[in-house]
Each structure stands twice: as C-alpha cells, then as structure tokens.
C-alpha cells in the first residue's frame, strides 16, 4: 500500500460511531473494504456494512469473540472465542453462516492470523500453543510449542517466511514457518511484571504489529504493573528492528492511561497508532511518527481494546467502550438503572474533513 498523500493524522476526525449493546473487544476491516466486523462482551460477532450502515449479528459463539482474521481471498473470516471455539464464515453473505466450526482449539483463543499463502489459519491461546488449521475445512494442520505460557498476540511477517507470537512473560518468538522451528526471540520483558508478592503474572505482549516492509516490529502492552489486582501500569509500545532484534524505541503515551496497549497498527506512512485503556476514565488514541519517541498526535477517547486499518489506509476503526451510567464501587444502585456499559466501533478518517 502506498501512503495516501492526504493522510494527516492531525486532521483525523470521527466519521462513524457504530453502536452495540456491549463493549467491543476486537475489530477488523474486511480486505474488500466493504465491511467491518467486531467481537464484543457477549456472544455475537457483529458485521457492519460501511456504506449502508447495516448491522448484522453473526450468532453461534458461546463466549466473547476475542480474535479475528480475514482471508486474503476476500470471502472468508475466522473468529475465535474465549471458550476456545473457532468459526469460519462467508462473511459477505447476506446472512452469514459458519462454513465450519472447531469447538476446542484452545482454552481461550486470544489471537488469529492467516499464512501468507492463504492455506492455513493460525491461532494462539492461553494454553501456550500456536495452531494451524486448514482454511477449507478447519482440520488441524500442525502446531508450534515453545512459549510455555499464555500467548496473546500474533503477526504474520509480510515476506511470508516468519510468524511472530507474543506472550504473557514478554517474549516475542519468531518462528520460521518453512522449518516450523523457533528461530529467535525478541526481549519485550518490559511488558511483563511479577513482583514478589504478586499471585499472578501481569501484562504481556498484548498486541503486535509489523510495518509495511516488515523491517519493524511493534509490541504493545504496559510496564511497571503495581499489583495483580488493579493491574495499573504504564502503557508502552516497544519497537524492534526485525533483522537484528535490537530494541529501537520505547514509546509512551502522552495522555494518562493505566492499561495495556491492545490496539496497535502501522499506518501506510509508517506511523504507529496505539489505543489505550484507563480505569473508569478517559484514555486516548495516539499516533507516533516513524522515528523518535514523541507523540505526534493524540485523540482523547474512551478505552479501546482493538484497532484495524481500512485497506484504503485512510480509515482507522477502534473497538471500545461506551459509558452507560454509574459503575465502580458501589451499593444502593437501582436495579432499573444498573445496566451494562455499551460499546461502539468508532471509525476515524485520517484525512481532512471535506466541507460541503
């Protein structure tokens, strides 16, 4: 993709806010550019037609959908949930139904991708495994073991030879897909915290992104978690040189947030977009230039949990949270007023708003 000359994140504006009854956890634009899909804090997979705005619920999952991957054939979509099920959809059908379902790919499916040749879906989960599935029928087609802990993120290298996977302990494994061997590991341990009195590991590589030519690897998460309860930390994005594995930059958000960066994408001009989380407060969508560590632009907004870039390179979707009344510690809440928070898929255009 060649960077559109009109791309200017400082002129970014919100073009759509597509509502849902629950917060959204992940999102992806279809490669055809006509749809955007999202997983939510319910059992639905949601598809919106970008032109008409039509919203359709793709039913069948029995837990939250947390992982999405589109096939480059522009026909198929893989979704994975937190009960471990995978479903493959004809996503553009008028009423999409699953082509096939795999009920127990992992305990939780945390991330999904597709091989460069389009022959295999790739999934990663809380069992520490990376698994491959035939795209046509969902049959198992191999696995990569070696993390030994929960795997949160996946990224297929654009050259097709390598797969990157990020885990709870802050390791980014680089796998050679031709040999099915672990080739090397990038050290992102800054994104993991386990103090002596913690009962659990906190943090991890919650998001991974590769730039257009695959020379840079960005890993999102948070550092310096203060506890395993509130899990407050400092949002961080680590940028590595892919060839050497050297950490080049540690990026910090400009606006106060205390959760991990789960939404992370490279724009076509080489900038990074990162979305944060903040406990019961406003977070931000921030843009970092291709070099240096200063934030180029920040858009204050609600917490978000996933990002996707449209094929045209000019639209960015955030899957996130919409406040719906009092939450937080409490008592004496009125049952009629005590309802779930909502969600929205917010689309930002990354060029100047045209006035009519």
């Amino acid at each position: 993709m060649v960077a559109d000359p009109t791309l200017d994140v400082k002129k970014a504006w919100q073009s759509h806010s597509l509502p849902h009854d629950r917060p959204l956890l992940c999102c992806a634009f279809s490669p055809c550019g006509e749809y955007v899909v999202a997983g939510a804090q319910d059992e639905n997979l949601i598809r919106w037609n970008l032109e008409s705005g039509e919203k359709r619920l793709l039913a069948g999952h029995e837990s939250w959908v947390h992982a999405l991957a589109f096939h480059p054939d522009r026909k198929r979509l893989l979704s994975g949930d937190l009960q471990g099920a995978l479903r493959c959809w004809d996503y553009a059908a008028a009423a999409p139904a699953p082509r096939w379902t795999t009920p127990a790919a992992h305990p939780w499916v945390q991330a999904a991708a597709v091989t460069h040749d389009g022959k295999r879906w790739i999934t990663a989960g809380t069992d520490g495994a990376i698994r491959f599935w035939n795209v046509d029928d969902g049959q198992p087609a191999g696995e990569l073991l070696g993390h030994g802990t929960e795997v949160y993120s996946l990224a297929a290298h654009p050259a097709g030879k390598h797969l990157l996977s990020g885990d709870l302990l802050g390791r980014i494994h680089i796998w050679n897909l031709e040999t099915a061997k672990l080739e090397r590991t990038l050290d992102a341990k800054l994104l993991h915290t386990r103090k002596e009195d913690f009962l659990a590991d906190v943090g991890g590589v919650r998001s991974l992104a590769l730039n257009r030519d695959g020379t840079q690897v960005a890993a999102g998460g948070m550092s310096d978690a203060e506890s395993n309860t509130f899990c407050p930390g400092k949002p961080a994005v680590l940028v590595f040189d892919f060839a050497s594995g050297v950490l080049q930059r540690t990026l910090r958000t400009k606006t106060k947030s205390d959760g991990p960066v789960k939404g992370l994408v490279y724009l076509s001009n080489g900038m990074l977009a990162a979305q944060g989380e903040h406990l019961n407060a406003t977070s931000s969508l921030e843009f970092f230039p291709g070099e240096g560590t200063e934030v180029h632009h920040a858009i204050p907004r609600e917490s978000g949990y996933g990002l996707s870039l449209h094929p045209d390179g000019l639209r960015l979707a955030v899957a996130g949270f919409v406040n719906n009344g009092r939450g937080g510690n409490g008592r004496h809440a009125k049952p009629a007023e005590y309802v779930a928070h909502k969600g929205a898929l917010v689309i930002y255009r990354l060029d100047e708003k045209k006035t009519t």
Binding site: P23, Q41, D42, E43, E62, S63, W64, D81, L82, Q83, W108, T126, D197, F198, L199, A200, D201, V202, S227, N228, T229, F230, C231, P232, D258, G259, E277, H278, L279, N280, A281, S283, E302, S303, Y305, F321, N323, G327, G328, N329, G330, R331, H332, A333, P335, Y338, V339, A340, H341
Partner: protein, 429 residues
Amino acid sequence: MPPHSCNSDVHALSRRRMLGVLAGGAAAGSLNVGALLEPAVAEQIRGQGRQVLFIWLDGGISQLESWDPKPRSEFGGPFRAIPTSVPGVHFSELVPETAKHMDKLAVIRSMSTKDENHSTGVARVQRGDPKNRGVDYPFLGSALAKLLPPPANNLPPYMHIKPGRGGFQWQDAGFLGAKYGALTLGEGKPPIHIFRPASVDDARDDARNSLRRRLNEPFRRQRRESDVAAYELSYDMAEQLMKRKDLFDDRTLNSADVARYGEHPLGRHLLQARRLLEAGVQFVKVTSYHWDMHGDNFNMHRQLVPQIDRPFAAILDDLAQRGLLDRVLVVLMSEFGRTPKINTRLGRDHWPEAWSVVLAGCGVKRGIVVGQTTANGAFCDGPEYDCGHLFHTIFEALGVPASKAEYVNDGQPLPIAHEECSKIDEVLA
C-alpha cells in the same frame, strides 16, 4: 507520657526486650476493659472440641467467576458454568475441584452487606458488623477464643496464617483484651523465638523463666490485669509451641500433599492450616491478599481462582477423610463481591450488594444453596443476609446461642452478634 508508663525500676531492665517479640504487639493495646460472658450462658455452650477454618480472600473474589455464575447474561463474563456434585447446582468453570465437593458445602448466594470500602470493610466484616456502641468488637477468631471453652491442648486458640510478617495481632481482640488476639504466622512459619538457642539448656531456660516470673510480679501490681495477662499468655503460647515444633517441620510433609495443595501461598498455607487443625488449634485463619481485580478481571481470575480451588478442595477432602469435618466449621469469604458491571479496564469493582459465602462442616447442612440472585447476578432475589446473619449462623453452628449470649464489658452487656439479625435456619444442620 504513655498510659502504661509507671517510672518503675523494672524498666531499667529493658522489659520489652526481655519479654520478647511474641508479646510485643500486645503491649500497645488498649486494655482497660475486661469482658465476661454471662455465666449462665457459658454453661449452655456446648462447643467443646469444635474448630474453625476461616479462609479470607482479602478484597473480593468475583461471585460470578466462582459460586454464582451467570453465563451468557448481561454481566456474565466469558466463563461457562459447570455442574457440581449436587444436581442442579452450578459453579463457574474456574472451580472444577471445589465443584466436586458441593455435596459438602452450604453456599449462601444472597449476602448483602453495607461496606464497599477496604479501609473499613475488613474489620467491619470480620467483627460481624455489630451496632456501634463505642467499642471495638472482636474479630471472629478472637470472639470464639473467648466464647468457646479453651481447648485442652494449650495451643494458641487463634492462629492466623498470612503472607508477609508474623507477630501478635492484639488488635483483633477489640474490647476483649489483648490476650484474645491472633498469633500470626507470617508465611505459615512459626515465631522464630520458639527455637531455643543450642547454648540454652533446660536448666538455664527454667532459670530464665523463673526470673521472668519474679520480675512480672511487681510489674503486675502496677499494671492493669489484662496487660500482664497478655504478656503471660504470649509466653504460655511460646512454651506450648516450643513443644510442638513438629507442626512447622516441612520435612514431615507428604510430597503428594504438597502437590495436591499447590506450592503457591494459598496451597502452602492451607496445608499448614490442616496441620494446625489436626493438632487441635481452635480457630485457624488463612488470609490471601490481592483479590481485588479492578483491572483485567478475567485473566486474573483465570490465574488466581485455581489457587483457591485446588487447595480448598484438598482440605475439604482431608478434613472429611479424617472425620474432622464433623467438628471443624469451614468458612470461605471475602470483604464483598465484585461488580457485575464490567469497567473500562475489563475489571470488576467492589460489590457488597449481592455476593456469596461458602460454608462447610460442623453444624451446617451439606449440599445446599441458600438464597439466589437476579438473572443478571446484580441483586439478591429474595431474603438478603448481612454480616450479622452470618455471625449468628456461625455461632449457632458452633453451639454458641448467639441470640442469648452476651459479652459483659465493664458492666455493659453487649450482644455477641447484631441483635437485629438472626441465624440463617436454612444453613444450619
């Protein structure tokens, strides 16, 4: 000048240093009150030999991710519910081992308490949230140290296993006076001073203790009785523990037990609790911190809940196999539940409105669920129970008639549990 200061020559001998660390905390307590149980009521207490295992998950375990799952509901979260050993009763999939023991449990799903704050909630809940009468009520362990007949084994009646440092928690005793406080075993380890230096033989030890007692006498004459009683009790405890070093010898642990309970703090501490209960300690409290998942609730519960599920199931198994479940009351609880509403950090906050407590063993029915919550889990649906109801129920299960028994504190009668609450009959065997 501190209220305990008397300017006597005794202090020239550095009394605190001589009396040692076991009593160190007690010296700071406010001990100007005594407490007595009405004699007639004391006669009625039939609790001889009854014991308590009190497991405190500091903060709050999510009821939705444990004892009251609501899968696929408005606030249900991503986990599924699984069947338990009692048909029709389901737990979260995060507690598969405990689910196998539901036939031993009484689960109260309609706890509705008053306090959503940590700073006040811990003491408020563990004191039974009595009416404010201007005195500090005792924590449950201290209350039972007072209310139950003393065990014949002379071991400290109230022992507390917790992460971090140990010591003597005199504050738990409230108006009862410091001697009803908790002997706290940091990391489950014994107080270091129970291990007598090799250079001190029996004769020399006897001489030291004799000197201590002689020095105590003039001190006692110038002090309130409860102060000295606390010091003396600390030494008595130490002497008893010196005879029971075997209770803390990890070399005697069965490796299969260590594996069953787990090597994380809760696993180790519950296994230590089992040893103390087997030895006859009357009230064993096990505290686990960090149950307060305001952020990343679901990943954290996935990591933490197994740390209580496995050892809790193991100790239920062991108590049952040893025939101890008939005389040991097991209580598993937190300060409150967690909000059904999921916050911006995918966390759950504090929710005293509707949450669950698990009981098992002595005096309670087995295999029952009491109370229920609304379909979305947010509110109680039917009768609600507060800390006072829970304390009445615990006391009754142990043979203490809470509706009749009173403390007498400086002549002031004080109910042992909130007088506007009552026992939960459905729970009691």
